[in-house]
């Protein structure tokens, strides 16, 4: 970074940049134009739609109104009434994404670390297995967990058959579970709950976490660890003083990337989250494709979600730059 700010290099690079621009052939210009068009036009369209006006009982029309943005912050009936419903949705988008991303990285880190210690052959077998698990779509994963958590064939059945439910009732913890919404009078239940939502979302991105952490961990110099060990450091000290500091940035970067990816999760949230804890992605969909046909309001929420994600990415970039400096 410091090299670019060197005035001499800057002065030299300016004319070359200009001559390079002249060198750009027509085909290159077309390719660049196409890339810019494909990247920017969806965003431009969403931003343009977000200023549209809703016609009650029908669809919407183009316009320039800030009322959709206002609704995101204070609701449709402002100023008679104020609701933070949509900000609450945004809060839960962040809430699930943070927890699921952190849990996925925390679980992927020891796994990947141990994996890099295996033979080349075993490593590639694991990587192929993990890569192939990525072919499972979100819908399949949610369906799977839906069955695993259901009363007749899943975890609650195990609770009941093993006598765990009866024991919980005996010691009185069952009533606590009922208060937390994790039981009905008959048995424990895990749907719908924050637990099921975060579990499925972490499961969804765990393979990505492994794939993101694999390159830095496999490149790590093992001789440093051996050196620390010969000097008498225990495994915990080695982890704390050698391994973690050397992969601090990749860990942070992976968490940030998964977090932004998880902001848009739709199926897991709509199936496993209770209505009181829905996210903005679900709200966007119900505005655009739901019965009200309110695309402008959906677009305004999407823009707010986009801005939120960008803020986190920029903050993350800034923090990692500070950390590496």
């Amino acid at each position: 970074m410091s090299a670019v700010s060197d005035p001499e290099i800057l002065a030299n690079s300016a004319p070359t940049a200009r001559s390079r621009l002249a060198d750009l052939s027509l085909s290159q210009l077309v390719i660049w134009g196409l890339i810019l068009f494909l990247c920017l036009s969806p965003f431009a369209l969403i931003i343009a739609v977000s200023f549209g006006e809703k016609i009650e009982g029908a669809s919407w029309e183009w316009g320039f109104s800030l009322v959709n943005y206002q609704r995101v912050f204070v609701g449709a009936n402002w100023p008679e009434e104020v609701t933070f419903l949509y900000l609450q949705n945004l809060y839960y988008s962040l809430y699930y994404a943070v927890f699921a991303a952190v849990i996925a990285v925390l679980l992927a880190f020891p796994f990947t670390y141990l994996m890099t210690g295996l033979s080349r052959r075993a490593q590639s077998a694991w990587l192929v297995f993990i890569l192939s698990s990525l072919s499972l779509s979100e819908v399949f994963i949610v369906m799977g967990w839906d069955v695993l958590l259901s009363n007749r064939s899943g975890l609650p059945m195990v609770f009941k058959e093993t006598g765990l439910t009866a024991w919980l009732k005996e010691v009185g913890w069952f009533d606590t579970l009922r208060e937390w919404g994790l039981a009905n009078p008959r048995n424990v239940k895990f749907k719908t709950s924050v637990f099921a939502t975060v579990l499925t979302m972490s499961y969804l991105v765990w393979p990505y976490a492994v794939i993101l952490l694999y390159p830095p961990l496999s490149r790590m110099d093992r001789s440093m660890i051996e050196a620390a060990q010969t000097m008498g450091a225990g495994p915990w000290t080695v982890m704390r003083t050698v391994i973690l500091p050397s992969v601090r940035l990749p860990l942070f970067g992976a968490t940030l990337l998964l977090f932004v990816f998880l902001l848009g999760v739709y199926v897991a949230v709509s199936v496993f989250a209770e209505p009181a804890k829905q996210t903005m992605a679900v709200s966007v969909y119900s505005a655009v494709r739901g019965a009200t046909l309110n695309a402008p309001f959906g677009a305004a929420q999407a823009v707010i979600l986009l801005i939120t994600a960008s803020v986190f990415l920029v903050l993350g970039q800034w923090m990692s730059r500070r950390a590496s400096a």
Binding site: K54, I55, E56, G57, A58, S59, G75, A76, N77, T83, F84, L85, Q88, N89, D146, S150, N151, R152, S153, G154, R178, G181, A183, N184, P185, R186, K189, K191, T192, S270, V271, E274, P275, A276, K277, Q278, S283, S286, V288, R289, G290, A291, T292, L293, N294
Partner: protein, 360 residues
């Protein structure tokens, strides 16, 4: 692929194109005589039953060929059809819309073409409520109807006499499955059970009162479902022991031995219906009228009740349905949804409902 050279590929491609062109020339006079119609219906079991039982009978009766098109549902489909109409080419001639979506399409304007009422004499078998006119003329005629019903697990609870029993937490704590969408007619049930029916929707205070009453049932609801399959699985897996679900599917599940029973409590169950609507870009107005006339016939209405599980739009007395067959797909009393209010106050009802669900 590298073995095949470019020239031979081009040659074979051009010969295929040539063949296609030749056949279209030869086939042209034939095609001009052959009449056809593209009809949309909700995908899955529903569309399959139409393809197996209704369309072949229609083709046999009129010689008009039917091309079946899958619609996801009606609200989503209206978005698709709006975009297609703007683009100048639509995927279907006739689409199937729920009443609310049809009225919405009429209000948006430019999407539907009026139907030729004179060419559809059989529609007189139906209650005029099912033939919808706007300022341009008749834009929708009822195709079939369906109930969403109270359902319970008969192994766990006794048959309730009223919807009000679902509010009883001593019986139903965290045990019900209700639809999540504001317009899935649970509010109509609340209005019929505790208030003055559709009338209550006419003021904002009325709507707030309805939603507040609905809020009182929240501790008893384990699942607010948005996809049909969620509710089906939850009943099958006994995650829940009651709720609101489609009458015909519930009866089919009961036949398969699952612990589910559809109930008509004293307030009744909400009845909704689908209408055939003609796209404004279609030039098949005559064929569409023939098809609608065909499906309005009591014999075809009875056929659909038997094969698809929909409720007939004509009185039972005009059909040859037995009482048992009729009870499988229909019942009384029927709660008529407050369609107009759902449109006129849609933003208000949706947000008030969503706020209630979110506890915000």
């Amino acid at each position: 692929m590298s073995g095949m050279n470019r020239r031979s590929l081009l040659k074979s491609a051009s010969s295929v194109a040539g063949l296609a062109a030749a056949s279209s020339v030869i086939g042209a006079p034939l095609i001009a005589q052959e009449r056809s119609l593209k009809i949309g219906s909700y995908g899955g079991y529903f569309e399959d039953s139409f393809k197996a039982h209704v369309y072949p009978a229609f083709t046999e009766a009129t010689g008009i060929k039917v091309e079946s098109v899958t619609q996801p549902n009606s609200a989503d489909w209206l978005v698709t059809m709006t975009q297609a109409t703007q683009a100048g080419s639509v995927p279907t001639d006739l689409s199937l819309y729920g009443r609310a979506t049809m009225i919405k399409a009429s209000r948006v304007g430019g999407l539907l073409a009026p139907l030729n009422a004179k060419a559809m004499p059989a529609t007189s078998n139906m209650d005029p409520y099912f033939v919808f006119d706007d300022t341009t003329g008749t834009i929708g005629v009822g195709a079939m109807s369906w109930f969403t019903s109270m359902v319970i697990n008969p192994e766990e609870v006794d048959t309730p006499a009223s919807w009000a029993e679902f509010w009883d937490s001593s019986k139903y704590e965290a045990s019900l499955g209700l639809p999540r969408n504001f317009n899935a007619q649970f509010l109509d049930i609340v209005a019929a059970t505790f208030f003055d029916g559709a009338e209550t929707f006419s003021t904002k205070d009325g709507i707030i009162a309805l939603v507040e009453k609905a809020a009182e049932i929240k501790p008893n609801v384990a699942l607010w479902w948005s996809a049909e399959s969620q509710m089906e699985q939850a009943m099958k897996n006994t995650d829940i022991i009651g709720g609101q679900y489609y009458l015909d599917v519930s009866n089919l599940m009961a036949l398969d031995g699952f612990p589910i029973q559809a109930v008509f409590p004293k307030e009744g169950n909400p009845q909704d219906y689908g209408s055939w609507c003609l796209s404004s870009l279609s030039d098949k107005g005559d064929e569409a009228a023939e098809f609608i006339n065909f499906t309005s016939d009591p014999a075809i209405q009875a056929l659909m009740s038997r094969k698809i599980g929909t409720a007939p739009l004509v009185p039972q007395s005009k059909t040859d349905l037995t009482d048992e067959e009729f009870a499988f797909v229909s019942g009384a009393p029927s709660i008529k949804p407050a369609y107009e209010a759902y449109l006129d106050s849609e933003t208000f009802i949706k947000e008030t409902w969503d706020k209630m669900l979110a506890g915000a």
